[in-house]
């Protein structure tokens, strides 16, 4: 199955300010993405923007797939203007997804902001384990998909920077308190996606509590398939490519 394909926009729905849910119908049968995999999406037919943009798989529905994205710059702005019927060039699924938790492990998911996008796919894939989701955003109106997660049986803990929803403050602190109270009875494994600063704090927490965990990293990308060497991050084993060895890395491997 070729990972280069065209997909038709089925829907491009604005969820909240600057956040869109894009439903795509691939023109050919594609490989089913695993949670943590991503697609490179061409947003324009001209040569500017030149490079494809990476987006995590958010949800897979009977061969169609969804991306959840936030408008942050030129490329995502153009993407947000796409209408049903428009056709996009896509490459994927790419990268190494989240590894499945061991059989008896409890699962903790941590999402910061738009980092919630891949967490939906992850939660769905292990929903029988009733995962715990720690989810932090800036403010109440940035909080997405609460009902979807609840109806999946996810136990949600939310924090906002301004306290307008859930606990006030940083989601890593919320998680820390939870762990410090020894609320987790069985061995657990953590999966996280969010801004670099959150992941960095999590890695501190992980080493403090000897937590097993995986984080999805971001880096500017050109090729998405491991050839440009553009997307490396520093790890204890040297430079590793986010698009190929990642985007998911064991949390203790990353050097901040």
């Amino acid at each position: 199955m070729n990972r280069v394909f065209k997909a038709t926009v089925v829907e491009n729905k604005k969820l909240i300010n600057n956040h869109y849910l894009l439903t795509l119908h691939p023109a050919v049968k594609i490989k089913k993405p695993r949670p943590g995999n991503f697609f490179m999406v061409a947003v324009e037919t001209g040569l500017d923007p030149l490079l494809k943009r990476p987006f995590s798989i958010h949800r897979w529905i009977d061969g169609n797939f969804q991306l959840l994205y936030r408008v942050t710059g030129k490329g995502t702005k153009i993407l947000s203007e796409k209408k049903p019927g428009n056709i996009l060039d896509i490459l994927g699924p790419l990268g190494k997804g989240f590894p499945f938790p061991g059989k008896d492990r409890q699962v903790i998911l941590v999402a910061g902001g738009i980092g919630i996008a891949p967490m939906y796919a992850m939660a769905e894939s292990i929903k029988d384990k009733n995962p715990l989701l720690f989810y932090g955003t800036k403010t109440k109106k940035d909080v997405l998909l609460v009902d979807d997660f609840r109806s999946m049986g996810v136990d949600l803990r939310i924090s906002t920077d301004d306290g307008s929803y859930g606990v006030k403050g940083n989601i890593v602190n919320v998680l820390k308190k939870y762990i410090a109270r020894d609320s987790l009875k069985a061995p657990y494994v953590m999966y996280a996606c969010g801004p670099a600063i959150m992941l960095m704090k999590l890695s501190g927490l992980a080493s403090e509590y000897k937590m097993k965990g995986y984080i999805a990293m971001e880096q500017n990308m050109a090729c998405g398939i491991g050839t440009c060497l553009g997307c490396v991050v520093k790890t204890r084993k040297g430079h590793k490519r986010v698009c190929k060895e990642g985007p998911v890395f064991p949390i203790e491997e990353i050097i901040w």
Partner: protein, 311 residues
């Protein structure tokens, strides 16, 4: 019906089935692209630049997008020649296409040693000597910008190399056709041009350069007009074949380079955008030749029609 057009080209003693190759650093060691391209349809694979020892390259961020182009400051990260021979050559030998190895050193001595080592490896068809990476220190940059140093390093490698030697030139010079002549004098069998233009981008929010290395190399369609002009200038000054590159995305782009004087072309940044592009370009050139009634691609090299009084 006309005969099938003949796409065969000679780069010195090296014969390619067609003029389309990958550009160094944009095609890995070939293996990652096998999924997207039938590698046997290419004229040659040019691999990522190698050095005697493995290199970590520059810290991230290493790339930034620019209008119709991109900046990179990979810093020549590579697995080293030994690892390459052990881990990558076995696959490359099976690809049914020519293998050109791009390499560099941090001193004349290293260049020479690398060339010697690579010359004895079974399955390598030619060497491309990179003297033009913009992401190196100032002391290194002179390999590609100071004619005296260029002559010295190319001559030294020429004596050591047992394979066809392609010299890859820097566009960051006042007169590239002069540098081309210097490389020719020093014994180059062919020239590759152009490497990337030195560029820069700044994030206005953080006020920091977008690349950790501050500056990087500009590639992609943005630089095509400059690359094309340089090929045209060099073609009229040297007698060795030119491999043209810089912003080639379509077969028409490739044909422009050939008309300007290139015997072959290399496709770089385009691989990141359309992983199957190299093969598409071969097909496109063939279609063009058929519809224009051109029997041999060599008839197109330098076939631009223009008043010749401007030399």
């Amino acid at each position: 019906m006309a005969n099938k057009p003949n796409l065969k080209v000679n780069i010195g003693k090296l014969t390619l089935k067609n003029p389309v190759m990958s550009a160094s650093g944009t095609f890995g060691y070939g293996d990652e692209y096998a999924e997207f391209v039938d590698l046997s349809t290419l004229g040659a694979i040019v691999v990522k630049g190698l050095s005697l020892k493995p290199k970590q390259g520059n810290p991230p961020p290493r790339i930034a997008e620019t209008p119709s182009g991109m900046l990179n400051a990979i810093g020549l990260q590579n697995i080293g020649i030994d690892n390459f021979i052990k881990k990558k050559m076995p696959f490359l030998r099976t690809c049914k296409t020519k293998v050109i190895v791009n390499f560099f050193g941090d001193s004349i001595d290293e260049y020479v040693k690398a060339a010697e080592k690579l010359s004895s490896v079974d399955g390598i068809d030619a060497l491309e000597m990179n003297i033009s990476c913009p992401n190196k220190q100032e002391g290194w940059i002179v390999f590609g910008t100071d004619p005296k140093v260029t002559h010295k390093v190319v001559s030294a490698v020429r004596s050591a190399a047992k394979l066809p030697l392609i010299v890859k030139l820097s566009p960051n010079v006042t007169d590239i056709s002069y540098m081309a002549q210097v490389a020719e004098d020093a014994g180059a069998d062919a020239l590759s041009l152009i490497n990337t233009l030195t560029g820069m981008a700044i994030d206005v929010q953080s006020r920091k350069p977008k690349l950790a290395n501050i500056t990087g190399g500009l590639s992609g369609p943005a630089i095509k007009p400059v690359a094309l002009r340089m090929v045209w200038e060099c073609f009229r000054k040297v007698h060795i074949p030119i491999i043209g590159m810089g912003g080639i995305i379509t077969s028409d782009d490739a044909i422009e380079f050939i008309l300007a004087g290139a015997s072959a072309v290399a496709v770089g940044t385009a691989n990141f955008i359309y992983p199957g592009v190299t093969s598409d370009i071969v097909r496109g050139i063939r279609t063009y030749m058929s519809s224009e009634g051109i029997t041999s691609i060599t008839d197109l090299t330098g076939a631009i029609k223009c008043r010749t009084n401007r030399l």
